[in-house]
Subunit: 219 residues, 2 copies
């Protein structure tokens, strides 16, 4: 924590995660209004509320380590907002796939990042992004929709690929703009070498494919 390089990478990471959750809350809450029925709307709203609670825990950690949450989040506003603008769901099913596939890949990445931070922050990140129990609800609804009208599977598979493409494109921008964040991943004794980065990428890709398959979609 005394290493200024580490401190600045950690602030960046928590800023990115915090703003991701804060904005995730707003988007999910709005997407919930597209639900076919009020029970589903309430279910997605409850998931949104969970994201705000997680935001609050991450923000509190920023304050704890002496950082200003607003300044920590600001560098990531543009990338995260552009991600959401370019992946605004056009209907309820697209919203569900975005929740499951888009949040899924982001959360996998965040949990991987926990290996590179102090134990207390790592514990917080793992607890914030542990399985939120929302999987069953989304998987059931999407599979039912495909069973009812098989041709939606093609459209949703394309949508899933687009979500990942947009996420990667914003992730690349963030990595290019925030050296301290990439330093966190590659420096220090536990830091990744090129092969390690490749393995990380493979893990993220194969978990993404598993989620697509769980929904009945071709990855």
């Amino acid at each position: 924590m005394d290493d200024p390089g580490y401190q600045s990478g950690l602030v960046d990471l928590l800023g990115l995660l915090s703003y991701g959750e804060l904005q995730g809350f707003a988007r999910l809450a709005a997407d919930a209004a597209m639900a076919d029925n009020l029970v589903d709307q309430a279910a997605m709203s409850a998931i949104a509320v969970n994201e705000l609670r997680q935001f609050e825990r991450l923000r509190d950690r920023l304050v704890e380590i002496g950082a200003d949450p607003e300044s920590a989040m600001t560098p990531f506003v543009r990338s995260i907002d552009e991600f959401h603008t370019s992946t605004a769901p056009s209907d309820w099913l697209e919203g569900l796939v975005k929740l499951y596939v888009g949040d899924g890949i982001a959360e996998d990445f965040y949990v991987e990042m926990a290996d590179f931070v102090d134990d207390e922050t790592a514990g917080l990140i793992r607890s914030v992004f542990k399985d939120r129990g929302q999987a069953d609800f989304v998987v059931t609804t999407v599979r039912e929709a495909i069973a009812e009208e098989p041709r939606v599977a093609g459209r949703l598979a394309l949508w899933g690929r687009r979500l990942v493409g947009e996420a990667l494109s914003q992730a690349q921008r963030v990595a290019g703009e925030r050296d301290s964040l990439t330093e966190l991943l590659v420096s220090g004794e536990g830091g990744l070498d090129l092969a390690g980065v490749g393995e990380l990428f493979n893990r993220l890709t194969s978990r993404h494919a598993a989620r697509m398959e769980a929904l009945g979609l071709t990855p």
Copy 2:
């Protein structure tokens, strides 16, 4: 509770309140994204979360009295959605005034309705709609904005009047369509006569004027 007329008015009232909170959650969460800074965005998001918690309590009461929440809410979807569509804030200040003035008058009305229902439901309604401690945040921000640029006061005063006009127009539609709801207000031994309805209307109007003045706006 054994009186079918009472039961049906109560289900209508709880359905109206539930859907109002569920949709209020979605709108506030979306409006929060218009905040000037991330601290204010988080503050309005937290108020939105509170609305979803209140929705859940009202919905649970519907289940408790043997009603289906979805059927209970459905009759009010159109009026509440139209209210929100016709009063979508165009900026952060309009969002704040809508939260304070629009929710304020709705909540006053709901608390008045508590006088006409069984004690358990009345207790729930009063506890759901008691002061949510959000007043300070809104009042301070709006007053500061007016101090900085006095001419926004005129625009926001018009906006406040429009909010009430749209709310009344939807309330009239609901009253016209849902006899059981108006019955709740006027039948039984505690029911209101014409003078009583007038007094209720006066109370709502004067509390509305007090809120406008608290914000520094001409009612």
